[in-house]
């Protein structure tokens, strides 16, 4: 209000959006600390951080989108920077603050809610500033390289807490991560497991915040670069005397004065017009904005993807369901497996459920521990195994669920059962393809499960199991 500068106003509102992002992250962290089960949520609120990360990623995308629109607008109506020196000063100040914030979030402690955002918006500080201020030199190139390094190091997620499984490379781990290991996890891992586990799930959330601050920093960099170049290379129109600005589309003037302007010197001569400086400088700003949007989107996309995959209840990347399935099936005493579900709650907490069909309870007791070991080796520690025993005299459909819900609930079950195929005539078999036993069958090629042609029971070792059962008695 004091300087009646619209740009400062917009910048302050942009900082407000930063605050919102930080608030979202903070709320998520606070929530996620309540890991105890409650009446409303039997898992506790551990997932809040993943949600916070997703919300931040979506906010960032929306921000990029609005910047994109404004950049396109600038392409059509380029503006000059009125007072580049002030802009440089403000931009540098913002950049320093943002770099501080980046450092803060790179080694984030508990919570990590610092107010580390400055005038990082690329449209900031452009107009109507009073002249003044010293000119500060800032090598933006170095700043950007440092940013990139920090960015890539933080993008490598900590998967070291999942036992027994090879490390999975997430994001773009371009360079060495051993010494720039995220959040000091390498040091913490043998000491305190809880902190490691917390880090891996909180990390997603912090990444969201980090990316937001990073976007700000990029914006500052762009502001500074643009203003510097503008200051150095632009020939402004002096206030007195006629001036021709070929960069602004003014059709009336074009034809009349263009011929006059050409072939004249730049500086003022009596009776001539000055030509404003190289036009491409005016387009530098939108171009840099576009580059910034691309960089931001490129770095936000992995975060978006990861949090979305967790929320979609997908199998974590490092686990291969088919191999797990085959390992379980080859156990002695296991006749069939169905309803095998693996999903990630948050961070390293992976949950698995399965229905195991065994000939009788004693066989099940023998294999129960082995089953848990197999799951443990894959990194799945919270499992619920339901044993099912073949009812006496049931020869058919060895693979079917012994205890499904009643048939009319088929649609409400997470996965349908095969006997519903006959009762539900209306459902196309192409989509109701999964029976309990078909889960064990692979669909390597198609995403959609068109398994009409696949036989329902593919349990080879059935007769063998029976013999084993008798021998164990």
């Amino acid at each position: 209000r004091v300087t009646s500068s619209l740009a400062m106003l917009s910048d302050s509102f942009h900082m407000l959006s930063d605050v919102m992002a930080l608030v979202v992250a903070l709320v998520a962290v606070r929530f996620a600390q309540r890991t105890r089960a409650t009446k409303k949520n039997t898992f506790g609120w551990v997932r809040a951080e993943v949600m916070g990360a997703l919300v931040n990623a979506v906010f960032l995308t929306a921000l990029c989108f609005t910047i994109l629109l404004e950049a396109i607008e600038r392409f059509t109506e380029p503006h000059e920077i009125q007072q580049p020196l002030v802009v440089i000063a403000v931009g540098v100040a913002g950049l320093i603050i943002n770099l501080l914030g980046l450092c803060l979030f790179n080694h984030h402690g508990v919570g990590g809610h610092g107010h580390a955002h400055g005038h990082g918006h690329s449209h900031g500080g452009r107009q109507q500033h009073p002249r003044g201020g010293p000119k500060a030199e800032q090598p933006p190139g170095d700043g950007e390289a440092a940013l990139h390094r920090e960015e890539t190091s933080t993008l490598v997620e900590n998967c070291s807490s999942s036992n027994g499984v090879g490390q999975e490379k997430l994001g773009d781990a371009k360079d060495d991560t051993s010494d720039v290991q995220v959040n000091g996890n390498a040091g913490h891992y043998p000491l305190d497991e809880e902190e490691v586990e917390e880090d891996s799930s909180a990390q997603l959330n912090m990444r969201g915040v980090f990316l937001h601050v990073f976007g700000d920093a990029l914006g500052s960099v762009i502001v500074v670069v643009n203003a510097l170049l503008f200051y150095g290379l632009w020939n402004p129109c002096p206030e007195d005397g006629p001036c021709f600005n070929p960069c602004v589309n003014n059709h009336c003037m074009e034809n009349a004065t263009l011929s006059q302007a050409l072939g004249r010197a730049n500086k003022s001569e009596p009776g001539s017009v000055t030509v404003a400086g190289p036009c491409w400088l005016l387009y530098l700003d939108p171009v840099l904005c576009l580059i910034m949007v691309c960089i931001l989107l490129y770095t936000t996309y992995p975060l978006l993807r990861e949090s979305a995959l967790i929320l979609l209840q997908t199998v974590p990347k490092q686990i291969d369901v088919h191999s797990l399935n085959s390992k379980l099936r080859t156990l002695e005493g296991v006749e069939a497996i169905h309803e095998l579900h693996i999903w990630q709650l948050a961070g390293s907490r992976i949950i698995g459920t399965a229905h195991i069909k065994c000939p009788d309870p004693s066989t099940y007791m023998m294999v129960a521990k082995r089953i848990k070991e197999i799951f443990h080796d894959e990194g799945i520690h919270a499992t619920t195994i339901q044993p099912e025993f073949a009812s006496v005299g049931s020869e058919s459909g060895r693979g079917k669920c012994e205890l499904p819900c009643r048939t009319q609930c088929a649609l409400k079950q997470c996965c349908g059962t095969r006997e519903d195929c006959t009762t539900k005539k209306t459902e196309k078999s192409s989509s109701l393809s999964i029976s309990c036993s078909e889960v064990v069958i692979e669909f390597p090629k198609t995403r959609r499960t068109k398994s009409e042609s696949i036989p329902s029971v593919k349990l080879e070792a059935n007769t063998d199991q029976n013999e084993q059962f008798e021998s164990s008695l």
């Binding site: 025993f389 609930c409 997470c414």
Partner: protein, 410 residues
């Protein structure tokens, strides 16, 4: 593949038209300096996004099992609705900021006639949209349903009458998202038309801004609030699902009470109930029983209780009580204690009897385990080590003996 039927192709045409309208509106908004037209354009954009998400959601929800996701992708709808609502909120926030700026620095709407024309056409398009979606309200296959036909619900068996209605309501989550945006668009177009007509009728020319310049921002702010007020409930609903919260119709206390009263059940723990997508509830629990026959009887009854509660996919893990383990703790959390931090609910934080579904039947099994009540905390360390630290078959033999005696009772 009946997917590319008339319905889907109509949706795709609508998407393309929406995109074109968005581009037109946003450019005219910049030319004519009309904020309400810009906000209308953003509303059209989020509407477009929700249609796209709806299309993908339908497509994905038909996948029942995929090696990347054992549940299929029926949650894609929910996630899409959530993401779209958050995106719309962010856009509305930026519009709000612009409107505040315009209050401080009022600007005229230029080229009022052009803005008026575009506004009217936008309004027409929105009404058309609304009509189309009212007509094919249920044209999106609900998550889990097989059909994307025109009237999927008509072909179900008549006995499911009431359940059909519930499904219709609950499966329309994404439809609601779309409808929400459509109505917001219509409102936005009305605002645009009003503002532009005022400027058309009383053009300002070069005069400084008077009261006319303030109409645009104020109506825009009103519109933003209206859209946000309908976006927030959607966010709330979808985040209930995404955060693995207990679904609305399920009362955990009641449920665990009833489950604990089933004969044969000594105690329950690790009871989890969550919603995969609209209407699909999943539960897992561990139950402690004395013998396998107890377990089998109890399992049927428990499933019945769950069915009545609306939970149809249940996985029950039996644990057999022995003198070593506490009555309340999980006998088989994982194979070693170091995994505790990776469990979904840490065994170390022993909760009170109500939370975490730890329920103990009082007075039903008069065994030594009741004494463990007082010494709960000390039991934490001991029992989990015992069955797992010994990798040998000793333990299994012990329990085998128990169950061989148990099987004679079959």
């Amino acid at each position: 593949m009946g997917r590319y039927s008339g319905r889907s192709s109509r949706l795709i045409v609508m998407c393309v038209v929406s995109l074109a309208i968005f581009a037109t509106e946003i450019s005219v908004a910049y030319v004519g300096n009309s904020l309400s037209l810009a906000s209308d354009a953003f509303a059209v954009l989020s509407h477009l996004l929700s249609m796209i998400i709806g299309l993908f959601g339908v497509r994905f929800s038909r996948v029942r099992w995929h090696k990347a996701s054992t549940f299929g992708f029926c949650r894609a709808d929910v996630l899409g609705a959530f993401g779209n609502s958050v995106f719309a909120t962010a856009l509305m926030f930026s519009i709000f900021v612009e409107a505040i700026k315009r209050f401080i620095n009022p600007q005229k709407t230029e080229r009022a006639l052009l803005v008026l024309v575009i506004g009217v056409s936008g309004l027409g398009f929105n009404v058309l949209n609304y009509v189309i979606f009212m007509e094919c309200c249920y044209c999106h296959a609900p998550p889990g349903d097989a059909e994307t036909g025109d009237s999927p619900n008509d072909q179900k068996s008549p006995e499911e009458g009431s359940e059909k209605k519930k499904e219709k309501k609950s499966e329309a989550l994404n439809i609601r998202g779309v409808l929400l945006h459509v109505m917001g668009d219509a409102l936005g177009s009305v605002v645009v038309v009003v503002t532009a007509s005022i400027f058309y009728v009383h053009p300002l020319g070069n005069a400084p801004c008077n009261w006319q310049c303030y109409i645009d921002p104020s109506l825009t702010i009103v519109m933003v609030f209206i859209i946000l007020s309908s976006a927030f409930p959607l966010i709330k609903e979808t985040s209930t699902i995404l955060l693995q919260m207990v679904p609305k119709g399920v009362d955990m206390q009641l449920l665990t009470d009833r489950l604990a009263r089933v004969p044969g059940v000594s105690s329950l723990h690790e009871v989890h109930v969550w919603e995969l997508a609209s209407g699909k509830n999943i539960a897992t629990l561990h139950v402690k029983c004395q013998t396998p026959s107890d377990y089998q009887d109890a399992a049927h009854k428990m499933r019945k209780i769950f069915h009545e509660a609306g939970v149809h996919s249940v996985t029950i893990q039996p644990e057999y009580v022995d003198h070593k383990t506490s009555h309340l703790l999980c006998s088989s959390p994982c194979i070693s204690k170091t995994c505790d931090s990776h469990l979904c609910c840490s065994q170390r934080e022993l909760p009170r009897a109500e939370t975490n579904g730890y329920m103990e039947k009082s007075g039903s099994s008069p065994s030594a385990q009741h004494k463990d009540n007082g010494s709960r905390k000390s039991d934490v360390e001991i029992p989990m080590e015992d069955p797992v630290a010994e990798e040998s078959v000793k333990n299994c033999d012990v329990s085998d003996d128990k169950f061989h005696s148990g099987t004679t009772r079959f």
